[in-house]
Amino acid sequence: MLMRMSKIVRFGADVLFGAIVIFGLYIIMHGHLTPGGGFQGGAVVATGVALVIVAYSYEEVIGMVKKFVLTIQESAGLVMFAGVALIAIGLGTTFFFNFLANSGSLFGMTVPFGPNSGELNTGGVLPLMNIAVGIEVWGGLAIIILYMLSGIGKTEEA
């Protein structure tokens, strides 16, 4: 079906995949300080997955990671997002309330006022939701690419 690329391309894809994943996770984690966040970081990591799919052929990638793993990843991200929002109802406040901001626990440092140098430990619920959305977008976009490729495969056989 799709051709397997040469050894140089595959080696370059391996090295670059690691760098792209680290960069994408950096964008996801620092969403509350710098431009970026969940969707943007997830899209960057999905680009890395697309690079691996192009370098190796489709059958090898399907052999390495099954489709249902990515579906479970997508659902897990969504459940984490909705779950964090629902916990706020259990604490007596409203849906989506930021119950970790300025509270001293996880991501709970008090935010300095005005232009500052950006502390990672602030933000409250926002970095958790960024991580959830990042996981979800990673799984979702990767599974879109894999399903479209499998659809094209059937055209060749028919």
């Binding site: 710098t34 431009p35 969707f39 232009p115 500052n116 950006g118 479209m148 659809g151 094209i152």
Partner: protein
């Protein structure tokens, strides 16, 4: 006149997008038209938030406190995500239609008649 340039670009892009949707016969080109129209509206919303002399609305290492509006950027981000999902769904439909009908020409995809 110079400050109206983004809005002129919005009008030109949306006219190009609408013309592509209405006049082209290939399904993929119609999807391009939808994408161009979405980009035009996103540009419109971002251009609404500009305040003169403002910098990007980020407090980390900010050089001044005069910033452009941040709400239109959130609206545009949501709209871009919706555009991605819509494009993915439309392209999946195009893949299946090509597999079933053998063509992506709009004039020939007319199985459902009166």
């Amino acid at each position: 006149m110079f400050w109206n340039l983004p809005y002129i670009a919005v009008v030109i892009l949306s006219v190009i997008g609408l013309a592509t949707i209405l006049l082209k016969r290939n399904l993929i080109k119609i999807f391009f038209g939808v994408s161009i129209l979405t980009s035009a509206v996103n540009l419109f919303i971002i251009a609404l938030g500009y305040r003169e002399g403002g910098i990007a609305p980020i407090y980390t290492y900010a050089v001044s406190e005069n910033m452009v509006m941040a709400t239109p950027q959130a609206l545009t981000l949501t709209s871009i995500v919706i555009g991605v999902a819509t494009t993915a769904l439309m392209l999946s439909f195009a893949v299946v239609i090509y597999r079933m009908y053998g063509t992506v020409n709009v004039d020939e995809i007319r199985e459902l008649k009166e």
